[in-house]
Symmetry: C2
Subunit: 123 residues, 2 copies
Amino acid sequence: MEIRLSDAELDVMEVLWATTSPLTATDVADGVGGERQWSLATVKSLLSRLLAKQAIAPAKDGRRFLYSPLIDRDSYVGAESRRFVGRMYGGKLSPLIAQLAGEEALGDDDVAEIEALLARLKS
Amino acid sequence: MEIRLSDAELDVMEVLWATTSPLTATDVADGVGGERQWSLATVKSLLSRLLAKQAIAPAKDGRRFLYSPLIDRDSYVGAESRRFVGRMYGGKLSPLIAQLAGEEALGDDDVAEIEALLARLKS
DNA sequence: ATTTTTCGTTTACAACTGTAATCGATACGA
DNA sequence: TCGTATCGATTACAGTTGTAAACGAAAAAT
């Protein structure tokens, strides 16, 4: 029962994850801003697929539905991260950090934060 | 010209990346061990797709071809990592580390290695 | 010289994706 | 009450992916 999400589906989930309250299809369509400029029809298709995957739950509100996430963002992102790091770096984090070091992905503040994290881990 | 590889294609690339010498289709088929138990036909299909994506190059050797990678593993893995961290963590590494901390992905030796890395970065 | 094996290439086919139009039912506005 | 806007559901359709069989040419084996 391992749920995988496509890229587009993930964009929809992000909108749902971004609020506490359940949203309508129209809300979601409005929520996906920027690059992704989907028609309402497209958003509805994606919501259907997410329902089929049991990634979201519908709650009837009159004649329409309000959707809310069934899976937790942290769990999902955690699982995908484990998969990714396993696949690309044999499960080791250090080479990933080495890889991304020197890029914008790792500013001075980031370095400090990571060090604090590690310090806490060692206790 | 952004090359993306499917999961199966990546498995093939891993075999090619694992040796210095170019390999035949049969070599690759033998090389993918474990889970992936593909027929030779499957490997040939994947090699064709990799050729189309210009991820590998063929060198004629008599009546058959020897294949070698056109893209570098480090570049590919780096690009995918950037994409992944961008997508899942808004480009920040620290939350990834926080996420995977406490799992097998981060043993004591790993922590030490990462600290060394960061120390070197700060200089 | 003929059969068999081995190549690369072409074709297959179902599942998943991205992106949407259409449809049937219902609700709302005039 | 009669059109019109709005829902969710169904259908569409091309591209990608996983997995492979079929095909034609060439080489190797007998």
